[in-house]
Amino acid sequence: MSDVQEKIRNLVTTNPVVLFMKGTPQFPQCGFSSAAVQMLKACGVKDLVTVDVLADPEIREGIKAYANWPTIPQLYIKGEFVGGADIMREMYQQGDLQKLLETAVA
């Protein structure tokens, strides 16, 4: 496993909820990333860790390989890849994202 893959694995396994996004929660640089942050906030996530892929080209490329997923944002809960913005939205609308987050931070 390359250094960047190991770095990503560390990030997602040592933090319960990690969002890889473009920009920051305060200043998202993409509509999908912004929507992802809003959903997580609406779910009451307090200890959200975000990683700005625009600030780290290695992570930006590495994260695409990590979960075999070519787009940003990417949500990880307890080390597991949950999905991108579309999947988050569907889960949120079904109430599944809220449940998953409750068990993750409990």
């Binding site: 993409c30 509509g31 075999n68 997923w69 070519p70 787009t71 890849f81 913005a85 999947i87 889960m91």
Partner: protein, 87 residues
């Protein structure tokens, strides 16, 4: 400029679909609805991965944003949508 029709063709070349609809006319942002029997038994992540795989390098180089919803034929029927002859 990349068109919705091209994206639809890329998807259908690699994935047997009952229905594909792609919208978007700015060459960068697209929305897709895809119904395929190949989604059966797969979770949403795996379903989207099949679509990304079909798009391959186009996803990396040309498509800036693709929002998608994926359905098995059964799930699509439950939404009340008819599978039309459009393919």
């Amino acid at each position: 400029m990349l068109t919705a029709e091209q994206i639809k063709n890329y998807i259908m070349q690699d994935l047997s679909c009952d229905y594909v609809a792609v919208q978007g006319n700015d060459g960068q942002h697209f929305e897709a609805v895809i119904v395929s029997p190949q989604f059966a038994g797969k979770n949403m992540v795996q379903q989207h991965q099949l679509v990304y795989k079909a798009l391959g390098e186009h996803m990396r180089e040309e498509i800036h944003a693709l929002s998608m919803r994926t359905f098995t034929p059964e799930a699509w029927a439950r939404t009340g949508n008819e599978i039309t002859s459009e393919r």
